[in-house]
Each structure stands twice: as structure tokens, then as C-alpha cells.
């Protein structure tokens, strides 16, 4: 127990353990060495951090309440027309792979070399930028490279997003974007309990029959009722087996299925 007080010995131990005491350590500066007013982490400083967090939380919850989280139609691996898009923070990589020098036979440039260089140097930056200087204005090379990388990533992300939007706009209008309006309406259950669902799908997405999402852009309730009665195209007449009241409710609800976009074709 007494051995660590014995300064003549060459090896010193921590407490009564067999852990060797190190002579040199990187002890952080005492806070009294910092200029200005310090304050206790708990509760004083934590309260201030919490106030910043509350401001962020209010903004965040406003976003959550204003924007419904998107949920598209159930995954259908046989859907060949779907335009894939990764989450926004992977878009820069997605766009990088569209360059001629980073795709096809050179895909290794896009998948390995460029990301490895970028993220590898980011990982190892403490050993690449070893100077003592910390102020950004005094580190022009490091900061310059970072700025170029940032601008590059932002531009790639923006280009990828822009391209995706344009491709989406050029797709034939269809079920992919239109949402079911007023899902909780009892008319939706009427729809599901009738033969309609067999051809137009559980979610109005269309199977053998066309999708019914956005059908309100094209037809009024009366027109929908006449289609139910007389059929249209491959759809036979008299498919709707419910009561007249149900038929009316369903037609009203279907007519509400508007996307807000104008119909270009005549009916």
C-alpha cells in the first residue's frame, strides 16, 4: 500500500493497484485559465442550452405538425416505371455517379476513389492539418479545401434534386403522386366492400382497371354515377352492387379525389 509514496522506486503505481502511474498526461486547462466569466455546467449552463433546445423544439414540432410524413403506395417490385431517389443527404453521391468519368467502366472512381479521398481525408484531418493555429483565417489551405468540397456537395445535391423534379414532371400523370383525399370517409369502406376494389385496387392505385386517384379532376359525381351504371371501356355496366344512397356517397367521394392539377386531356 505504501509503495506509491516511495519516490526512490522507478515504477510508481496508481493507488493500491498494479496500474503504473504515468508521469506525463494531457490535463485540460483549468477553467480559471480561460478569460471572462465561467459558470457552472449544472444547472446554470444547462438551463441556457435547454432554452436553445426549446427554440429548436418549437420549430421542429411546427414542421412535424405542418408536414405529414410521406408514405407512398406499398412497395411493388414489379413496378418498372418508378423513379428511384435516395434520401437528400445521399444525393451528392448519386449525382457524382452520373458523371462519365465516374460511371460505367470508371465506376470505381465514383464509388471508391472520390469518396475515399474525401471522407478519408476528413477522417484524418487532425494528422493532415497539424499546425498549432486554430483561427480559420490563418489556415487558408485547410479552409479553402473544405469550402470547395462544401460547394461541390451543395451543387451536386441541387443538380440531382433539380433533375429528379424534372423527370418526375415529365412522367405520365398517375398514381405515384396523387394521394387519396379524405381516407376516413365512410365512402372508402363502401368502395372496399364492393367489386370496385378488385380492379381499381385497395388504395385506388389501379390493377386491371385504371387508378382512381385524382379521378375528381376528370369527372363530376353525376358522370361517375353514369360510369358505374353503364361501364366504360373494359369496365362492364352495373358493377356497383350497393344501394342507391351508397352509390351517391361513393360518387361524391370519388369526385373529391382531386390532385389540384389541371386535366389536359378531354375527359
Amino acid at each position: 500500500m505504501a509503495h506509491h509514496h516511495d519516490n526512490d522506486k522507478e515504477i510508481h503505481y496508481v493507488g493500491d493497484s498494479r496500474v503504473v502511474q504515468k508521469t506525463e498526461r494531457l490535463v485540460p486547462k483549468d477553467y480559471s485559465e480561460f478569460p471572462g466569466k465561467t459558470e457552472a455546467f449544472f444547472p446554470n449552463f444547462l438551463l441556457k442550452e435547454w432554452m436553445v433546445a426549446v427554440v429548436v423544439l418549437v420549430g421542429f414540432m411546427a414542421l412535424v405538425m405542418a408536414e405529414e410524413p410521406p408514405l407512398g403506395a406499398q412497395a411493388d417490385p414489379t413496378n418498372t416505371g418508378f423513379l428511384p431517389v435516395p434520401d437528400w443527404y445521399f444525393l451528392f453521391l448519386y449525382e457524382l455517379l452520373k458523371f462519365k468519368w465516374a460511371s460505367g467502366p470508371y465506376v470505381v472512381v465514383g464509388t471508391v476513389i472520390v469518396p475515399m479521398l474525401a471522407f478519408g481525408s476528413l477522417f484524418l484531418v487532425p494528422w493532415l492539418d497539424t499546425g498549432k493555429e486554430r483561427r480559420p483565417m490563418k489556415r487558408p489551405v485547410t479552409i479553402g479545401i473544405m469550402f470547395l468540397a462544401l460547394i461541390g456537395s451543395v451543387v451536386l445535391t441541387w443538380v440531382a434534386w433539380d433533375e429528379h423534379e424534372k423527370q418526375l414532371a415529365s412522367l405520365p400523370k398517375g398514381e405515384a403522386e396523387a394521394k387519396i383525399v379524405d381516407q376516413k370517409d365512410p365512402a372508402f369502406d363502401i368502395y372496399k366492400n364492393n367489386a370496385c376494389v378488385n380492379c381499381h385496387g385497395q388504395k385506388l392505385e389501379g390493377l386491371q382497371g385504371p387508378p382512381l386517384r385524382g379521378v375528381g379532376d376528370a369527372y363530376t359525381p353525376d358522370e361517375i354515377i353514369s360510369i358505374m351504371n353503364e361501364g366504360k371501356g373494359k369496365m362492364p355496366a352495373g358493377m356497383f352492387q350497393g344501394t342507391a344512397l351508397e352509390k351517391e356517397q361513393l360518387a361524391d367521394w370519388l369526385a373529391k379525389q382531386k390532385t389540384g392539377r389541371k386535366m389536359s386531356e378531354e375527359q
Binding site: L26, P28, Y31, F34, P35, G36, K37, T38, E39, A40, F41, F42, N44, F45, K48, E49, V52, A53, V56, L57, F60, V64, M65, E67, E68, P69, P70, L71, G72, A73, Q74, A75, D76, P77, F82, P84, P86, D87, Y89, F90, V107, V108, T111, V112, L122, V125, P126, W127, D129, G131, K132, E133, R134, R135, P136, I143, M146, A176, Q183, K184
Partner: protein, 223 residues
């Protein structure tokens, strides 16, 4: 009463030093937004942790309803979003929180980069921080598949194709991620396990090391 309880515990567990390590230390002026408004840039790290806590809590509640199989995954998400009270809010928090946490983490990384805080003696904590960034991107990638809608399915398919184009190890990565030849039932189960067990465990471990190192080394000084 409270004091007695504390003393009873302290006598046996010696918790005062732990309390001192966790809570009772001075914070310097240059990181305090109450003294300098511009010091809010030092809040991004704490805010990232705050959003991560929101992600963990909202994720726990989503797990009450979510079913990780290809027949029911989409249906369970649809149900919890449209039928369960506050389901849309909880899913919204998890969905938007994923993006916000990446943004916060990005801002925190930039703050540390531009203030040169990664320099001696904090090199190792920078590496831990970058590892946290990659774990978070992994959480984003695996979580994206779970709602099992078309967007999720095809984005994952493309992501795995990109991984598969890596020379030598590409097909091994793709097989590991897919759990088979196609993006299907195995992939969903696998991504669920990664998203809910493996990656959060690694994340919490790394966060713990990150925080211990900050306490050991102190915050970097003013510029």
C-alpha cells in the same frame, strides 16, 4: 429526507465524485450563448444529441406498432400513421428528425472544423465524431427502407446496386445487406435489426466515448 437518502447512498456508493464529473464543472464564457450570441454555434453538438434522444424515444413508440415483414410492414406504417392517435405526429417526429439530426450533425462537424477544435490533443475525439457521422448515415439508409413503400424499396435497391459496383468486396457487401439475391423479405428483417439494434448500440457506445473524452480533455479554448 432527500438529503438523508442522498447521504445514505453516497456513503455506500461514493456518488459525489461521479456527480462532480458529470455535472459540476465550469463552462467557459466563450461557448456560452448567454454571453455572446455568436456562441450558439457551440450548441450544435448538444442539439444533435437532443434530436438523437427524440429519435430514440419516437422510434421506441413506432416499434410498438411496426411489423418488420414484407406483408405487413407497409400496412403497419399506414395503420399507425392514419388510425392511431398521434401516430402521424410520432412518425413525423421520427421522419423529419432523421433529416434534422443529419443537419445538426453536419453543422456541429463544420463548427469543430472551422474552429480547429480537432487539433492536439483532441485528434481522437474527431475520429470518434466522424464515426458517429457514418453510423448516423447508416441509420438513415437502413431506416429509409422500413416503411416499405415504392420510394423506400427502389432507393434501397439503387443503394445496394451502388455498393455492389465496388470492386472486389462489392458483391459481398450487397449479399450482406440484402441477405440474399434480391431486395426482399430478408433485406427488410436485416435492415430492421441493423436500424433498431446494431447501429443504435454502436451509436450509444460512440456517444459515450465522445462525451467522456470531452470531459477528460475539456472544451477547446477561445479562438
Amino acid at each position: 429526507m432527500l438529503k438523508n437518502t442522498y447521504e445514505w447512498l453516497d456513503k455506500r456508493l461514493d456518488i459525489t465524485p461521479m456527480w462532480r464529473d458529470i455535472a459540476d464543472h465550469e463552462v467557459p464564457e466563450h461557448v456560452n450563448p448567454a454571453h455572446h450570441f455568436s456562441a450558439f454555434i457551440y450548441c450544435f453538438g448538444g442539439l444533435t444529441f437532443f434530436i438523437v434522444v427524440i429519435q430514440i424515444l419516437s422510434g421506441m413508440f413506432l416499434a410498438l406498432y411496426y411489423v418488420p415483414d414484407i406483408q405487413n410492414a407497409w400496412k403497419s406504417v399506414d395503420y399507425l400513421q392514419n388510425e392511431i392517435a398521434f401516430g402521424q405526429i410520432v412518425r413525423g417526429m421520427h421522419h423529419w428528425g432523421a433529416s434534422v439530426s443529419i443537419v445538426m450533425l453536419f453543422l456541429h462537424t463544420l463548427r469543430v472544423f472551422f474552429t480547429g477544435s480537432y487539433k492536439h490533443p483532441r485528434e481522437f475525439n474527431w475520429v470518434i465524431g466522424m464515426s458517429i457521422f457514418f453510423v448516423m448515415l447508416g441509420l438513415g439508409f437502413t431506416g429509409y427502407l422500413l416503411p416499405w413503400d415504392n420510394k423506400a424499396y427502389f432507393a434501397t435497391k439503387v443503394g445496394i446496386q451502388i455498393a455492389a459496383s465496388v470492386p472486389v468486396i462489392g458483391s459481398a457487401i450487397a449479399t450482406f445487406l440484402q441477405g440474399g439475391e434480391i431486395v426482399g423479405a430478408q433485406t427488410l428483417a436485416r435492415f430492421f435489426a441493423l436500424h433498431v439494434f446494431f447501429l443504435p448500440a454502436i451509436l450509444l457506445l460512440l456517444l459515450g466515448v465522445h462525451f467522456v473524452l470531452i470531459r477528460r480533455q475539456g472544451i477547446s479554448g477561445p479562438l
